[in-house]
Symmetry: C2
Subunit: 333 residues, 2 copies
């Protein structure tokens, strides 16, 4: 294992320290318990948005703290849920009097710890609603999950619900919009290589020189099956087919096409996958109205990508286009 790290135990704390220094215009670091919150206090009466989860998926979630997206992010240890002891103060910090929405990827540990934190915050007088993200069509249950896993759709939920909160929507409305995004997005991923967790020091699974893992999770956990390598066009079709089968869009629907890199794959390859996915969507009489391509939710140094399709409606499109100013997603301001 070769990594740009010091003691593997300190990867998350040192990375977040550097992150908060490099992005001091966006975020403030609370070192212990570890969470990040917006550098500018959200205005009184704005619904707060909090997300979090195991580290190793950067820029998720810390990269999305800022205007028009999250008010606080809670990075757990590598691929390990943050504890309620960190989620609670992050929730309190994000509260500006209008309550807080927790955006939670569907992993057993995350669900339990955010649930406990929500109860404790409510006991302190902060109303909390939870949006569970479970967009991965690959598997029903997994190593880490009861039900479908939350993967790349999380970024879209955070952006669109964040814009709703920023424009002044109330707690129930922001939570309902977040749920609507989750209901309308499906994702599926592929790995060409494993990732290596710093404190483990060895790749998290084995893949032969001519194999890929279809339906991979964002922790390198198994997906549907290992199959022989194919070209990018074949892979795009293989990922998109179950996404569309499950989403069941109508001809003429407008969609957002999101090709996400797992961390170790060059941008050029993501655009080659995007090209074919866009072509296949057009052939299915769908309109690619918005796009996102890049490393937005990763699995350390894993090579591979995921494809997500979000069925848009006019309000979601407007909220997607709304200004956002975070370290990892920024436009319109």
């Amino acid at each position: 294992m070769k990594k740009l790290i010091n003691d593997p135990k300190n990867v998350v704390s040192e990375a977040m320290e550097g992150f908060s220094q490099a992005h001091a215009d966006h975020v403030r670091l609370n070192p212990n318990p570890l969470f990040l919150s917006r550098a500018d206090a959200p205005r009184p009466g704005k619904v707060g948005l909090v997300s979090g989860g195991g580290s190793g998926h950067e820029p998720l979630h810390a990269g999305y703290v800022g205007v028009g997206m999250l008010d606080a992010a809670v990075p757990g240890p590598m691929f390990t849920s943050p504890t309620p002891e960190a989620i609670i103060p992050a929730t309190l910090a994000a509260n500006a009097g209008a309550g807080v929405v927790h955006i939670v990827k569907n992993y057993t540990g995350d669900v339990l710890n955010f649930e406990t934190a929500a109860e404790m915050a409510q006991a302190e007088g902060v109303e909390v609603r939870t949006v569970l993200v479970n967009d991965d069509v690959a598997v029903e249950d997994s190593l880490y999950t009861a039900g479908r896993r939350g993967v790349a759709g999380t970024v879209l939920v955070e952006k669109i619900a964040g814009a709703a909160a920023e424009r002044g929507d109330d707690l129930e409305t922001v939570a309902a919009i977040g749920k609507r995004v989750n209901d309308n997005v499906r994702s599926m991923g592929v790995a060409l290589s494993a990732c290596t967790v710093p404190h483990a020091g060895v790749p998290s699974f084995e893949l032969g020189e001519d194999e890929m893992e279809i339906g991979i999770g964002i922790h390198g956990e198994p997906g549907r099956h290992k199959v022989p390598m194919e070209d990018a066009n074949g892979i795009a079709a293989r990922l998109l087919e179950p996404v569309l089968a499950d989403l069941a869009p109508q001809a003429g629907d407008k969609v957002l096409l999101f090709v996400n890199g797992m961390g170790g794959t060059p941008a050029s390859e993501l655009y080659i996958v995007y090209r074919q996915a866009a072509k296949l969507l057009a052939q299915a009489d769908l309109v690619v109205a918005r796009s996102l391509v890049g490393n937005y939710i990763t699995a350390l140094d894993m090579q591979g990508c995921s494809i997500s399709v979000l069925r848009l409606d006019p309000e979601m499109t407007e909220l997607w286009d709304a200004p956002v100013n975070t370290p990892a997603l920024r436009w319109g301001m």
Copy 2:
């Protein structure tokens, strides 16, 4: 070799096709000869900025086409200079009547081809000035270069000269500002792994399991020496020391600290390097006034990073902060 590609011969054209579709709000693709230009025509009288070079360094250069940065980008074949036949029409497309600045990384092929293209464009009545970027302190000559190589400093030259052009500076002024950025920036990189060029199919060099290559170029070409792996803090010091020795800043100088990922390294590791580099700069009585961290100029899937330090003056700082709206760098609008 496992990559998300189709025919290795078509990697660049397919990637740029997907790129131009995903970023149709920013760029237009000219497929043959291959170049990209701004989707919105620059206003009459604006100096045009054109850059280009071998592909494999994405998001450089296509990702920087847009308001406040480049007017056109010319991607050559993988790690191979674009020909004058592509640079000439890109130059003509970027000309809005006030001349064009070529931003050229110092590699022999790039220098020759941009020089030929500049002569041809001038023969067609377009004034061209050239800013040569040679910020890499690692080696004096290399496999691809007479003199120092142009590496990560290129991104800073494109941003700051682009802002000067956008505010309406004339041809000589924009070129002079670009040169001033190059004169004040130094870079040095490290590789933990090699990259694999698609049409080659095998890693471009060998590194032992406990080795790293110090002073690596952005094509995986040799640097200063192979040395045993160290921790991130040791690597940060090893990269920063020759940068500062060459730049020779004064105590109290304000600098921009740029930690660039080579493509295959997780964001968390880049922030760990940033953290230590910022600490070392503070110890040297330098003020880190601006920061940039991420994959901005890459070598395909190579693992590693570079550190660049730019000595700022008030005008460069103002131009750095100016609005920019490109696929890969965006703020203020």
